[in-house]
């Protein structure tokens, strides 16, 4: 958007975000952007992990110790769920790019499916890890 030399007068806006009930398609769109921004922070987590691995057992144990604390697990769950959501909803977006799934009913149903599948994937991954089913590359 170009910068305007004269600022237009502040006009009242329709309070579309704060008053009306969010349609599911609006919620999934906002969450897609929010998880994308969260995943930008997640790239630091991955770089930190690789850096720690390259810097000897002490550096690695320090990183692993931080991740295993409760705040660490909360951050990790946020990262894992964001990745799951952005991946699954991203596939929904690619289907739209090809012209599929634009019916209002279809778009609403796939929105709910994406939310449910992303939560199942993230909690499933954590459940496997906590039940000792992860770590198969140890």
């Amino acid at each position: 958007m170009a910068d305007h030399p004269h600022k237009p007068a502040a006009r009242p806006l329709s309070p579309f975000v704060t008053v009306f009930r969010w349609p599911i398609t609006m919620a999934t769109s906002i969450v897609h952007r929010a998880t994308g921004v969260a995943l930008a922070g997640g790239t630091i987590l991955i770089a930190w992990w690789l850096f720690a691995a390259a810097n000897g057992p002490e550096a690695y144990n320090q990183f692993a110790g931080l991740i295993e604390t409760l705040p660490g697990q909360i951050v990790l769950f946020g990262f894992v769920w964001s990745l799951a959501y952005h991946l699954v909803n991203g596939i929904r977006h690619l289907a739209w790019d090809l012209g599929y799934g634009f019916e209002i009913r279809t778009a609403s149903v796939t929105g709910v499916v994406v939310l449910v599948v992303s939560v199942v994937l993230a909690t499933g991954a954590f459940a496997l890890a906590w039940l000792g089913q992860g770590g198969y590359y140890r």
Partner: protein, 125 residues
């Protein structure tokens, strides 16, 4: 009269200044990231609770090292494009917007370089 064709004179004058280039690069990196992210998730779950030595064995495998580098680089490329979109949506001041987009790409290059450096260090150690 100009030597440029009418098409050349109007190309790039839209709001994005770049046609559909940004949109297309975003989709190409998104498609590449589908298999890479699935591979990353399966690998990360497999390394839960692993000691440093086991992580080094995993990451010094050439296939794993290349896939991890591809995942990190494609992720940061996709991230730079996506955050750029967020910046141009919410920052109307052109100077600040320009600075933030520069910062966005600087972040992507820095984190990608640090990650690939770590992978190389593990590969040659």
């Amino acid at each position: 009269m100009s030597l440029e064709t009418p098409l050349k004179q109007t190309a790039g004058l839209g709001a994005a200044h770049s046609g559909v280039g940004h949109f297309w690069r975003q989709r190409v990196s998104a498609v590449a990231l589908i298999p890479l992210a699935v591979w990353f998730a399966i690998s990360a779950l497999g390394l839960v609770g692993a000691r440093e030595a086991a992580v080094l064995i995993f990451l010094s495998n050439p296939l794993n090292a290349v896939l991890m580098a591809a995942f990190v680089v494609a992720s940061l490329y996709h991230m730079a494009l996506g955050i750029q979109e967020v910046i141009v949506d919410y920052v109307p001041q052109s100077g600040l917007r320009f600075a933030l987009v520069m910062l966005d790409y600087a972040f992507a290059f820095a984190v990608a370089a640090a990650s690939v450096f770590s992978l190389l260090r593990i590969a040659v150690s």
